[in-house]
Amino acid sequence: MISNMNFLERIVYILQKYGTSYLKGAGTTLVIALVSTFIGCIIGFLVGIVQTIPVDKKKDSLPKRIFLAVVNALLRIYVEVFRGTPMIVQAVFIYYGMSQVFNIQLGMWQSAFLVVSINTGAYMAESVRGGIISVDPGQMEGAKAIGMTHVQAMINVILPQAFRNILPQIGNNLIINIKDTSVLSVISIVDLFFVHKSVSGALYTYFESATIVMVIYLTMTLITSRLLRLWENRMDGDENYELVDVMDIGSQLGKKRARG
């Protein structure tokens, strides 16, 4: 009967029969993308922060310098390996490798979160490092000049500015992850793309199902990028500011003094 329908009728038919499956698949895709991007950002920030710890030959002890050098070398390897190989291969490698080599039986979900997170982390590490380096060095000097330690300066001054600089990158990664979780179907994650493969396999409606899936992916990414733009604008704050009445401040001071 489906062979007698036209394109639109087929789409309606598929949606009636499998609409909830598509929505569930889209939900899975979104959850994996959001959670993994979040974890990936945390990994990226940690790696980026460690990689920008200044080393002073004169002031830092030898063990500390060696430790930092080793950690940095390992982090470089991590970044290069996960940036330099396809995620679809990483998924298979980790899912089967964990069970065969380490005898750890990872669930599909755990593997999915793990693969996408560390993949995102590798990309974010470079973005974070770049974001930190691109903050004017004068900001760090200003912070040090009022007595802040490197850690205090990073937390209060540098990272907030670096975060704003790399927010577009984070958004980019989130959108890439929404699309690229489709490769996780190789480890049988039932995401949007997996639903598409099942439906089109059952009904032989590749074009119609692909159309539906295209629309759903595009909707998710468009909404995401719009929300991220709103967030960026919010972080930039108001272009205007209120002048405060000097007398007002004086009276505030007076009150505080009177109370204290």
């Binding site: 000097e141 000049a145 009022i146 205090q152 500011y241 405060v244 000097v246 401040i249 505030q252």
Partner: protein, 248 residues
Amino acid sequence: MCTENVILEVSHLKKNFGNHEVLKDIDFKVHTGDVVSVIGASGSGKSTMLRCINLLETSTGGSILYHGEDITNPKIDAPSYRAKVGMVFQNFNLFNNMTVLENCMVGQIKVAKKSKAQAREKALQFLQKVGMSAYVNAKPRQLSGGQKQRVAIARALAMDPEILLFDEPTSALDPQMVGEVLEVMTTLAGEGLTMIVVTHEMAFARDISSHVIFMAEGCIREEGTPKQIFEEPKEAETREFLARFRNV
């Protein structure tokens, strides 16, 4: 200058960048209440010397004694030393992610461990002093250069520094903004704040400072009272340098 109450004693200070000797052999003392102006041509090492004093550059030789303690020792707790020695930069270096008020509070809260209310009161007090209290809610990018520099001075003052270092505080400013910053600095000098000022403002150095240091090629060529340096310079180099500013 009296001999007691020495805050800072710089002796045989050296600084190399690679094989380039920027500071050769710097000796001088700063006493409580001194306003020391450091003048000299660009590239004579003035700023580098100031940055060495605040440990933003690591000196390669000599010593800097702060109340008798050598702060060039690598073991020194640099952050707590810097909290007592304020610095005002040529490019302001206000924190771009904070408002004017937050700029003046963050050091007090995070470094001096004061309560928010205390920090706020003190920040407002110094912002009022530099005439910037109306702008507490503004972000640095919304201010003019002169305004930024006055906020930077308030930020440094809010830490209760024992000595304040100025690294060419007016060099990045338009001529009409130089005055407002110098006015604030003159007030501070009048109140007895100990200051080291690297400057190209000869009138300020002559009228406000208690001691003037003339630097050339990484050395102190001549030093003395403003009267000695500006009216009776002994060295030919000093006279030559000052001649270029005579019309000021």
